[in-house]
């Protein structure tokens, strides 16, 4: 399953709720303001880094670049472009968007 998060981890519980229930082996894609969850040195970095050990965690590169934070993405998180976004949707059975 593909989990998509588009909200900042500092303004909603979307990321925490997702990390709490997402099955090991599922894919988590951070887009729009959700990309703030993919960065190092933040209050949520440890949780996301831990999730990346058991899940495939991806972040939408154009959204990171737009926010000026391309050099801060955590190791172990995969940068994808819009084509990669489409591939993830096509490759997974079901999508859960944590609005």
């Amino acid at each position: 399953m593909l989990h998509i998060i588009n909200k900042s981890p500092f303004t909603t519980t979307s990321l925490d709720s997702c990390l709490r229930v997402a099955k090991a082996g599922s894919t988590i894609l951070l887009i729009e303001d959700g990309v703030y969850g993919a960065l190092g040195g933040t209050a949520v970095s440890d949780r996301v880094q831990a999730a990346a050990a058991t899940h495939t965690v991806c972040v939408l590169a154009p959204d990171v670049a737009a926010r000026g934070l391309g050099d801060k993405v955590l190791d172990g998180i995969e940068l994808v472009d819009y084509d990669g976004f489409v591939d993830l949707v096509a490759a997974n059975n079901g999508v859960q968007s944590w609005l």
Binding site: N6, K7, S8, F10, T11, E32, D33, Y36, L39, G40, G41, T42, A43, S45, A61, P62, D63, A65, A66, R67, G68, L69, G70, K72, D81
Partner: protein, 138 residues
């Protein structure tokens, strides 16, 4: 502003990240409009609002305008009191070096260039809120 010549203290509180919503850009638009009325303007960036000032944004990939170079023009509009929540930066793994270097020129000191951004803590933010005549929230 009903009385001619009256100057009030205006504070714009910015608490949202750029691009995900329109609040950040709208706030900047309102600040620029307000600057024309020669009020005593301060800006406060806290929570995700601190992300608005991050330097090096490249929005080509998301098809949206990068409005953030306009922050560098605020000094020319005599908007030079820009307060940033130090704790919000730390929680997000950011430091002053990650933000745009915003400056203004002090005409009383031979146009000396001075920093516009001031890092503040919870007590200073509390005082800042209390001393305002008008507070706008974005």
């Amino acid at each position: 502003m009903s009385e001619a010549g009256t100057t009030k203290k205006f504070l714009y509180v910015n608490r949202r990240a750029p691009y995900g919503t329109i609040y950040a850009w709208e706030s900047l638009e309102v600040v620029l409009i307000g600057a024309a009325f020669e009020q005593d303007v301060s800006l406060l960036f806290m929570d995700d609002g601190v992300y608005q000032l991050v330097k090096g944004m490249d929005t080509k990939g998301i098809g949206m305008k990068n409005f953030t170079p306009t922050y560098a023009a605020l000094g020319d509009y005599e908007v030079n009191k820009i307060y940033v929540d130090r704790d919000a930066l730390a929680e997000r793994g950011l430091s002053l070096d990650d933000l745009q270097h915003l400056v203004w020129e002090d005409e009383n000191e031979d146009w000396a260039e001075k920093d516009s951004i001031h890092l503040v803590g919870r007590d200073e933010i509390g005082n800042l809120l209390e001393e305002q005549d008008v507070i706008f929230n974005f």
